[in-house]
Subunit: 148 residues, 2 copies
Amino acid sequence: MNNYQNILLAVDFSEFDHLVASKAKSMAELFSAQLHIIHVLDNIPMPDTPYGTVIPLNENSSYDLLETEKKNLIQIGNELNIVLERCWMVWGETEQEITRLAVKEDIDLIVVGSHGRHGLAVLMGSTAKGVIYHAECDVLAVHLKNHV
Amino acid sequence: MNNYQNILLAVDFSEFDHLVASKAKSMAELFSAQLHIIHVLDNIPMPDTPYGTVIPLNENSSYDLLETEKKNLIQIGNELNIVLERCWMVWGETEQEITRLAVKEDIDLIVVGSHGRHGLAVLMGSTAKGVIYHAECDVLAVHLKNHV
């Protein structure tokens, strides 16, 4: 098969990120692929910001909630040695923004947890399933064992 | 991360099997994992057979349709150098039998096409999504490009 060249890790700042990140990192190392990371802002208000807007990480805003989210993302990026240019924060609907960025950045593998931070059985796997539905590349759904 | 040790490839005898199989084989090689293969019989009648029944591959029956399915599976298994003991044919509901076998055989990665043989946009990804919903391990959904 063609090796994966660009891998996109989707994080949601939940307690499970480290597990999904560790799988994505291993895959990137095995395939000598470039690792990208995305966090979609869907849980803080962003008035007057259209869906799909990429939030610059190298500019400060006066919006505390946003600054906290940026710091979280940059910290995970640092831990994974991902340069800022491959750390993405986007405002919008999670599944759609992940898959939209994947197309834009020629991603060939998306790595995502098999349930989001919701932690409810009824929603388990909803993000992963949504990403698979929309994605135009392979998707590795990392099972978050016994963490429903 | 813990390396994958047992990988289960799910095939449906569609024209896309070779693509999904090639990804599963590469992953098995990269991780030095054992590769298993499963085909779930959900499209031929099997009267008096309860769901979940494993069909023996080393016994002949007088049921032509079943023999054809067996030959197909054994052929793919041979091409991938999978011994007969790791080739599985099960009668039942696809998603449930894949995930049930995965638990039974200590599978840690299921590799499945991101849509089944149906080829209809509305069903695209249904098997992959169902497997993710039920699975107790990671799932690699292989995108079947431009084949809707």
